[in-house]
């Protein structure tokens, strides 16, 4: 596009605005032209850490020596050397699965994630395994934000500690991040989450995503979901979330421990593309999505995704 003469550029913008329809008209072409450089944003993500601090034990014939938080930290550090302003996110179930959780209650998990520079996480069902009090007790160790938009924490010790969404500014871009969680009833013993009210994640996601995209004019709207990738029945999942909502660009999923070979792209209710990604569990993989924002158009971006595998084996 840089090769286009100036007049043609204007022509190109007009055509593109026309092609993408009504919503894009809200963007002033003048404002768009003021920032003429394309911008790229890297989003790194994990899900379902499950207290995997150390690499898998020697006795595990499939995964012996694989993963490990110190390796995750090193990979992230290396990427940060090239990409200063990236987003690092997690889709929940940080807790439970190794004695590190039984003995230290999640303290080390949060300290490591803070050291790695996580920006934001959402809550999975296992993050309640030490109860609401157990979760609140570890929060001082977490130097990152917690988001969830479909649990009402009013009257519990978590009230005011978890926001429906957070807006991050990276490289002059505005990125809205919100979270949705799975129905805890029947999944988590009631004594551990009692007092939290669950709301339909689809309705809440639609409200929040609209507020972020239309109201707050975010360039990118990301949903951290602990609903699960998809189910045989009609149970709400990332697939349902992607196809039954508007204004979400990216869903970073968890819960089902799904090793997606590549992100799945769905079409949402307003005929826009939504990307869903999930990277298994135990910190064996780190998802990396790089978005390119086209300033002349401001109606589209490219997305490159890569999967950084902390294992030597192809199949897990």
């Amino acid at each position: 596009m840089d090769a286009l003469p100036k007049n043609n550029r204007k022509q190109f913008i007009k055509q593109t605005l026309y092609l993408v329809g009504f919503g894009a008209l809200a963007n002033s072409p003048v404002r768009v032209l003021a920032n003429a450089e394309p911008k790229t944003l890297t989003v790194l993500h994990t899900n379902d850490w499950h207290s995997r601090i150390e690499p898998f034990p020697k006795a595990d014939r499939n995964l012996a020596g694989q993963g490990g938080a110190a390796r995750r930290a090193e990979v992230i550090d290396q990427i940060r050397k090239k990409e200063k302003e990236l987003l690092l996110l997690d889709a929940g179930d940080i807790f439970q699965g190794t004695p590190y959780f039984n003995f230290y209650g999640g303290e080390l998990e949060y300290k490591l994630m803070t050291a790695m520079g996580y920006d934001c996480v959402t809550l999975g069902n296992h993050d309640f395994d030490a109860g609401i009090e157990g979760l609140v007790k570890q929060m001082p160790h977490a130097g990152f934000d917690f988001v969830n938009a479909n649990y009402d924490f009013s009257g519990t010790a978590l009230e005011g500690k978890i926001q429906p969404y957070k807006i991050y500014r990276k490289k002059g871009l505005k990125i809205g991040v919100f979270g949705v969680g799975i129905e805890l009833n029947g999944l988590v013993p009631e004594k551990l989450f009692g007092g939290i009210t669950y709301y339909d994640p689809i309705a809440r996601a639609n409200d929040i995503a609209k507020e972020l995209k239309v109201g707050k004019k975010c360039d990118l709207v990301i949903c951290l979901s602990h609903l699960g990738n998809k189910y045989k029945d009609a149970k709400v999942s990332d697939e349902v979330l992607a196809t039954k909502t508007a204004h979400i660009d990216l869903i970073i999923g968890g819960h089902t421990h799904t090793f997606l070979p590549e992100p799945i792209v769905y079409t949402n209710v307003i005929n826009k593309k939504v990307c869903v990604n999930q990277v298994g569990w135990a910190g064996l993989q780190l998802g990396s999505l790089t978005y390119t924002f086209e300033p002349f158009v401001n109606t589209g971006h490219e997305m490159n995704s890569s999967l950084i595998t902390l294992t030597n084996i192809q199949k897990i």
């Binding site: 963007n27 490990g68 390796r71 826009k272 401001n298 589209g300 902390l310």
Partner: protein
């Protein structure tokens, strides 16, 4: 603002250079790890072969339920049979070789305690229907055949299931509270809660056997079959 993806590609990086460990993170982990290792790396049993989580019947689920029944009998608890859930077993395979305290923690990380519930024959039948729908769950003292999604040929302690009788079922507090679709156990005739974790029972029983010179051999005896 509008979003329109026109390219999506994927690069997979499997470089060995990614295997390096971060020194700062390692230093953060070290004191926690050292303290844990002294308690976790203790051998309490030896597995003669791999134990696997499986449906309708798996050697891992059989072993866990059998050990719980052994414990119940040693404590003179009137357990007729034991039922757990597949979701409660958190490793797919317990590998051949040394079983350490850490192994048992990873197998059963939840703080679930032991419960006995006295359940009517009618509710037992509902439980068996749920087990059949789920393609089998870990059990002990119970045998059944799953045929077209239904529970058939049900035997409890080698006697045919009697729907007119009440039975004592050994399970976890999670399942006794109706977790994992076990609604049939929610309102029992009687319930006894024991202040002991399932994980601790496994360790007690493994240590006992190991002290007696025994090791663990995987058992698959057709307690749940599928047609």
């Amino acid at each position: 603002m509008q979003v329109n993806y026109y390219q999506s590609q994927r690069v997979r990086l499997l470089a060995d250079t990614l295997q390096a460990e971060n020194a700062k993170a390692k230093a953060l982990i070290a004191p926690y790890k050292n303290k844990l290792d002294s308690q976790m790396n203790i051998r309490i049993m030896v597995a003669e072969a791999d134990f696997k989580k499986d449906n309708p019947e798996g050697t891992l689920g059989n072993m866990v339920c059998d050990l719980l029944m052994t414990y119940a009998q040693s404590q003179k608890m009137p357990a007729d049979f034991c039922v757990l859930n597949n979701g409660g077993l958190r490793i797919p395979t317990l590998y051949k070789g040394d079983i350490t305290v850490r192994t048992v923690f990873e197998l059963m990380p939840f703080e679930n305690s032991l419960v006995l519930v006295k359940v009517s024959g009618a509710n037992c039948a509902k439980l068996f229907a749920m087990i059949a729908e789920n393609d089998g769950v870990p059990v002990s003292g119970l045998r059944m055949e799953i045929s077209e999604g239904k529970a058939k040929e049900i035997m409890i302690q080698n006697q045919a299931f009697d729907p007119a009788k009440d039975y004592w079922i050994l399970t976890s507090d999670y399942i006794a509270n109706g977790g994992d679709k076990a609604d049939a156990l929610k309102n029992p005739i009687e319930r006894k809660d024991y202040p002991v974790l399932l994980r601790d029972i496994l360790m007690i029983e493994m240590k006992k056997k190991f002290y007696d010179g025994e090791t663990l051999v995987p058992v698959k005896d057709g307690r749940i079959t599928k047609k």
